[in-house]
Amino acid sequence: MTLTVYIPDDAAALSVGADDVVAALQTAAVSKNIDLTVIRNGSRGMLWAEPLVEQVTDKGRMAFGPVSPEDADALLDAMVNDSDHPLSLGPTDEIPYFKDQERLTFARVGLIDPLNLGDFEANGGLAGLKAALALDPADICGIVTESGLRGRGGAGFPAGIKWKTVHDQDVDQKYICCNADEGDSGTFADRMLMEGDPFSLIEGMIIAGLATKATQGIVYIRSEYPHAIAKMQRAIDVMEEAGWLGDNINGSGKAFSLKLRKGAGAYICGEESSMLNSIEGKRGTVRSKPPIPAIQGLFGKPTIVNNVLTLATAPIILARGADFYKNYGMGRSTGTQAFQLAGNIKRGGLVEKAFGVTIRELIEGYGEGTASGRPFRTAQLGGPLGAYVSDDMLDLPMDYETLAQNKAMLGHGGITVFDETVDMAEMARFAFEFCQIESCGKCTPCRIGAVRGRETVEKVLRGEDVARNIALIEDLCEVMTDGSLCAMGGLTPMPVLSALRLFPQDFDRAPALAAE
């Protein structure tokens, strides 16, 4: 009897015991005389079902999850006999959470063995790069602009315009820097992609190189992601050996080399200019703009700085055309977004959908509400610098403009859910505390503002002169928004002010009674 199963070696799956499940299945298979092949894939993104075991059958892949090592025996019996098992989720493609997703960037994540180049190519990989190799650089920039692709790192700047700016610089040395310093709480899409389909990121970076005549690329990955670092390094090695990286990309005479750099635990290095300083071996302090990195970036040379998902989405645009991509989404938010459901949520994971899906569909539909079973209170959209939203904002569609009009932001697409037990004044305090810890210290509004902000919220928490101190916080937030050099200080007010605006009752503290 032979059996083939897929079990992720994605960090999230490993964190809930995927390796133990593999070991238990292998032991059980030996005792049952089953010839078991285990393929380690990325995660399908149904993190609530991890470790997810998929059996390869004539009818497609059958999913079981979440599997624990104790399930190994009975699970193998069910697989061999095609009988019922309590953990059966049916055909993977038919699982409601998965079925209606619109997976473009994540099409292969969880589907393939991430380091198998043949698998990658058989599932649409390299098609975009091959198309790009036959195009003029300016045409590649044109297609990306036409697709409407916007930077997925949070700011949403049109990728094609950035690419064209670098393209237009008439200098010999240019760089493509991939910002894989995904430090925002509630976001893990970059990590999942790098672990589940690293070739797609490399393919996107080579395309960006061809579009701008940059011959050197750097992936800057945060040190908190050891699995992603290991997977990306192996993927780079495989692509080099196969001739897709190096001096002569697939015999085209065009060159692109790629190096991996590891961060050292500094949230601010997710800010593009700090990241460039860090890659140069310096402290990760922010640079004031202008000049923008597209004109003077790494080592003073024109540099594309894009997020992992932006670069990894370029291949499908080149392969299928700008119109194909543009047909997804709404308004100026074209294409799809990898929404990440996190925090106190029953079914956390990754949902790739066209822009325009509502917050409610994501939290209540896909996520099925809170993990604790208590009523929903709020969700923070777009990471620690994003706004909290209230109940009556849940029917807003997820797109850049609508959220901005409602004083919220999409950011990197992360949605962190909180139940009714959350104390929003405490979260406002934490926002300042986080800024205090992670500020690079270069500009005063951020460096000092965060400290004063935390102190002032603490006064409110103690019930000291509440109205006056809230007014002071609002004033301070205005200074930070207007005066900070980058988004760290500039956006810290966003969670704070949204908490104050939407949940004022949490700040209405009575003075503490004297202890004696």
Partner: protein, 157 residues
Amino acid sequence: MTSMERDRMIDTAVGLCEKYRNEPALLLEILHDLQETVGYIPEETQPAIAKCLNLAKAEVHGVVSFYHDFRSAPDSNITVKVCRAEACQSMGANRLLEDILARNGLPKTGTSDKGVTIEEVYCLGNCALAPSAMIGERLMGRVTADRLQSAIEGVGA
């Protein structure tokens, strides 16, 4: 530290600089490797690194002190990172941190008598399976104080 130990550390640092062709842009890689070899970034190695890379001592010190990863004191046997970012907080990370500190006899983050270092971090990228912690390079999701403590004891504390 004896002068022999000191010289050995400096030799290690200089060797690593050479490995990276004394390239100042690769200072972070040099420091990562040094910390992996020696366990921390000894203050005594900083002038040597600065000399190799043709940097000011202040620049090297600035980098070492800027990044959370770099330690200027010897490492303990076991480093535990507990995530305290929003997603993990929504699932009780603050309580988890308090519990795990108490169980290791620590009033606040730091190193216990048994050599367990407990640090707080802000996001391990496992936000759908919160709360999360990391021991060495082992990531743990949906972690409880019980599971985390037994994992700490499992690696020899």
